[in-house]
Structures are given as C-alpha cells and as structure tokens.
Symmetry: C2
Subunit: 380 residues, 2 copies
Amino acid sequence: MKFFTQKDRLTAAIQDVLKAVATRTTIPILTGIKIEADKAGIKLTASDSDISIESFIPAEEEDKENAEIIEPGAIVLPARFFSEIVRKLPESVIDLEVVDHFKTIIRSGNIEYNLNGLDAEEYPRLPKISEDGAFTLPADLLKTLIRQTVFAVSTSETRPILTGVNWKIENNQLTAVATDSHRLAMKKVPLNSSSGGDKVYNIVIPGKSLNELVKILDDSRDQVEIVITGNHILFKAKNMLFLSRLLEGNYPDTSRLIPTDSKTVVKLDAKEYYGAVDRASLLAREAKNNVIKFSTVDQNTVEISSYTPEVGKVVEKIRSLSMEGEDIKISFNALYMMDALRAADGTELTIYFTGAMRPFVIKTDDDDSLVQLLLPVRTF
Amino acid sequence: MKFFTQKDRLTAAIQDVLKAVATRTTIPILTGIKIEADKAGIKLTASDSDISIESFIPAEEEDKENAEIIEPGAIVLPARFFSEIVRKLPESVIDLEVVDHFKTIIRSGNIEYNLNGLDAEEYPRLPKISEDGAFTLPADLLKTLIRQTVFAVSTSETRPILTGVNWKIENNQLTAVATDSHRLAMKKVPLNSSSGGDKVYNIVIPGKSLNELVKILDDSRDQVEIVITGNHILFKAKNMLFLSRLLEGNYPDTSRLIPTDSKTVVKLDAKEYYGAVDRASLLAREAKNNVIKFSTVDQNTVEISSYTPEVGKVVEKIRSLSMEGEDIKISFNALYMMDALRAADGTELTIYFTGAMRPFVIKTDDDDSLVQLLLPVRTF
C-alpha cells in the first residue's frame, strides 16, 4: 500500500474513528486503526466491539484531489501513535507506505516515521448490515434528539436496560425515551413514509454510543440514513459509518408514568430560573442529594431555597410569568433540574405539578415534542 | 460588619487569595477566607501555613467607589462556598452583613444567602515582616524570572532543598537557580543600589509558592517590593501581599557545574527544533525515559531521531543555522529539552556541547541572562 493524502483530511478522519478505538481490550489489534486504500480513496476503521466507526476520504471530491493512491492495500497502525504523529506533522502532504512485514513508513517533508503495523487480515470483520429497513433524519435533528434525551439514561448497571435510550418507531413517528427512574426525557420526532416512517421498531441504543455519535455528526441538514437489524443500528452519514450494538431486553413502558392532568401550572423565564436553581444548589451540594425547594409565593413570585444546617441557607425570589391552580411547595434534585433545563432550548418553560409527592412535567415554549419528568424528593 | 461592594472587585480579590486556601489541613479555620472591613476598604486573607495571600479592595480608588463600609468588622467564611456564591450572583452590587453569632448574610437583588461564619479572632496571625531589607523588581520581569527557572525544580522530596529555587543577591545582581540534578536553569537579573541591589541574600523559595505567585501577578511594569526575613519572603504588589515561607538548608553550589569551554557549537531555529524534538519524543514516550538522539550530519544539517523497538523509529533532518567544532552524537530526555525551550523566549538558540557524556548548555538569541544546562543520557 502506498498513498499521498492531505494532512487535514487524514487528521479529521482519524479524529472521527478515534472515538471507537478500544482502550482496554482483550483483542490487542482493536487498539489500532485499520487503514485501507483503493482507487476510490482511503478508509479508516476503528472498533471497540460495542461501537465501530468508518471514515472515508474519497480520492477525489468535487474536483478536489484529497488523496493519490499509488498502490492499494491495507494495514493496521497503533491508534495513539498514528493519530499523534499525523497531528504533529508540519507539512500539508503526507506520504504513507507499507513496506515489508507490515512496517509502515510515514513521510512528510524531512521527517520519516517507521511504525510497526499489524496485518489487516487479522482485524475483526464488522457485521454486515443489509440496506433494508432504512429511514432517514437530518443530521442536526438527530443531534438534537440525542442531546435532549441521552443525559437522562441511568449510569448504574443495576438495571442495564436503563443505560440506553429507547427508540420506538410507529405511525410515522419516532419516540425517544430515557430514564434513570428519578427523571425521564421523552422526545417525539415526526417521520414520513418516504423517509421510512411506516416501519415499526422498538429498540434500546446504549447511551454511550449515542454520546459518541453526537460528537462526530456535523450540524448540517444532510440526511443520515439509519438501518436497524436484530442486534445493531447503523448510522450512515456523508463519508462516515457509525455502527452500534443494541441493548437486549425489554424497555419498561413509561407512557403511563407521565401525568395527564395537573393541579398547578407555573410559567417561568428559563434563564432566570436556571440561575436561581444553580445558586440554590451551591449549598445543597454539601448534602448528598442536592435537594432544593420550590414554593409558589403569590401569582407573580416563586421562591427557590435550600437549607444545609452545617453551611447555611439561601432564599431567592424570581418572577413567575403566570401561575394557575393551587399553591405548591415541592423539593427536588437541583442537578437533575439543571440537566433538564440545559436539554430544553427555549426562553420560557412551563412546569405542571400534580402535588408535592407526585412526579411533575417540564415543557419549554409550549413545545410538546419534548416532555421531561422529574420525581420530587421527600423532605420532612 | 456590613458593607456594599462591586461584584467584579470582590470576585477578583477572592480569586487572588483562593490560591492560598488550605485544602487539607489540621486547622479547619484555614479552609476559610478572612474578611476584614474598615473605612479604608475590605481586606481578604487566606493561608495554608506555607503561603499566605492578602488582597485589598480600597473603598475609593482614583475617584471610583469600590466599596461602602457601613460598619467595620471581621469574619471568616468557608472559601469554597463564598467564592462560588459571589461568582454566581447576577447583580453587580453585593451586600455583606454579619449578624449574630457569626451568621453572615450575603444579599444581591432578590437573593439572600445566610452562611455560617467563624470568629475572625480565631484566625492565625500572619508573621509580622519588618520593612527593612526591601528591594524591588517590575512585576513582568519578576514573572519572567520565575517562569524561566521554576520548571526545573525537583518534584521529589528525596532532597527537599531542590524543590525550591535558589535566589542569590549580591553585587547588584539577582541570580535565580533551579535544578533537579538532571537539568538546571539559571537566570540573572541586574538590580541597582536604589532598588536594593546592595543587599546580600542567599535564600531558597519553594517552587510551589513561586508557581502560585506567578499566577496572580499581572504583566505590568509596576514595581513589586520584596522583603526577605530569616524564614519568609514577602512580595508586595498593588493591593496584594504574598507571603511564603523559605526552605531551610544550604543550596548546593551549582556554579562549577556549568562548563565554560565547548567543543561543538550549533545554532538552530528555535521553533523548528522544538517541533522536531516534540515529534521524535512521540515514540520515545513509550520507553520510560523519553530519550531522543541529536546528531550533527554536516555543517548545515542536524538529525533528530528516536528508536523504540516495540513501536518503531523516527528520523528528522533540520537545518542548523551554523555549526562550529567537532561532530557530535548525543542523547537526552526530550521532555527536559522541551521544558528548556519553552522557558526560553527567542527565535534562535545555541547549544554548546563539550562531548557526548558531558552536560551541555543552551542559550537563546545570544542572551547570557538565561543559561540552561541539560545532562545527556547514556545509550548503548
């Protein structure tokens, strides 16, 4: 194998696949990046068994030459060294050549690296995914969907299924739900039949996979093709493939957890409220559960407070933009509330309470596509 | 005690003293910040026994009102909470009031914090420093002096005296030396009699203290007054006092370590050379001592290389701007070389070798005020 390529393109492709490189593994070759070159271009692959990423550098693209393939072939190079070497090379053109016994020469200007590679034939094959069952979403919407739900997954392995995000596709709608049993985030996205909305799926994607995917997707309106098989989900973006295994097991039915009625409805300025929760949580962090208190004072005022005997207390009054129904005093985890507020874009938010001991619902800007649920904390 | 003050001034003063707040201590009150107010202004103090910092907010300064003191007094507040609270308050004016039993109310807009304070009388007194024996240096020169030497102190406690920087003042000159016995940095700064250069001192300042001091000094030409007593050194800048204990013991005589003759003199472009050392060190980091090899090739070329059997090798040729004397092949620790190059400002550097087994000297831009010494590593 021998090719020339642009440093910036190679660096970007390495950065994409690097997120899937195994750090602790019983399969040493997975700590490497597989590099394949043929006349179409250069393909990089990395995998940690859970996630696999492929990034492709087309030899030519829109009349621009990204790479010149002198001799096709394949090699596996140690990911950490390969990425640091390429990043630190000063010239814009890099020459990579495999010589005998998987020895690989990387040249740029007056610099010559000689790296010990591994046989690409030894690299595990990725599962073959059929093209059937594809639907599509624009990259930016997919990113929003992930960002607004994945933070609520459980980090505890006691119920492994809750470490993933549940995606249900039916009736031209994708519903994504994540919960750690203290809070829940649910996002609905319309699909149409031409983009595959007539299919029916019910899958659970590991939160970790989605957190990595969101980092390498760009914020474009480009369509991402999504293919679901029995055990895997494949995301196909421009010059990039992202494959994740799915979690096995049944995701709990969360639909009946979300209250449909409410006794108190309070509308707040999102930024002002976030600031008050953040400030009240400062003292609450000393105690173990970050509990702060939310109390309606009158039609126009809400009080956010917290009290930690060893440290002190804080009381802040903020405006309520509107308030309907009964007065309420309720306590909850400030960090969960801040996560919920960060996930929701929008300048106004509405909280629907059904009593101090019942879960409550948060929506922003009267947008029903994102519903968040928080459980109160009992304080005595 | 009760006062009003500007949030930005209070935040800046807290940030200054925060670096001296004790994190692990047997004296719990040292995890707090002492706040004193009198008609002149507000003084904050923090100390971890090794370092003490005072920051002062003058009530009035250049016709600007920074603080209004309603009632003088003093209190000690928990540093972490106090700093986070002040930083997160949304309004520009903060009102602080001590009520009964050291309870302290911090108000800003519609927010009221109630913090449990401690009796300021219980806070340890800082050592009294007489004004005698002061000399002065501009803040920016003091920062350069520290930055160019402190990186070379030892991090090992096997010879505690080497964890400090040796300052010798005599004959209108300050000489600062740091060494961990593998490398050495020596900086000379001229003093004049009016700025205290006629005094004679030989002290060792803990590297940790200097690292903190350099963070809070600004880059101005303002004079910093320096007072040395038997056990302490005091730095007095505008509205700020920084006190450090000194290390006890005799600093080794390093003057005879620096070779006065040389057999090979090589002049290099500093940036080009740094890049080559950095790139060669990539592979060397896998081995334990980061060793790379420097070889003169001809009058105009130097080769930087490294070889780690498990990973591979790298060879880079760079220009030498000039070369005099014998050819040389020498090995050294790449990270020490990079530290030395970062400390030295300048576009050209000259290395004076006296043989492959002898320490060698690095200077930049023919500037004799900074001399760096590196020990070679034997490779076979």
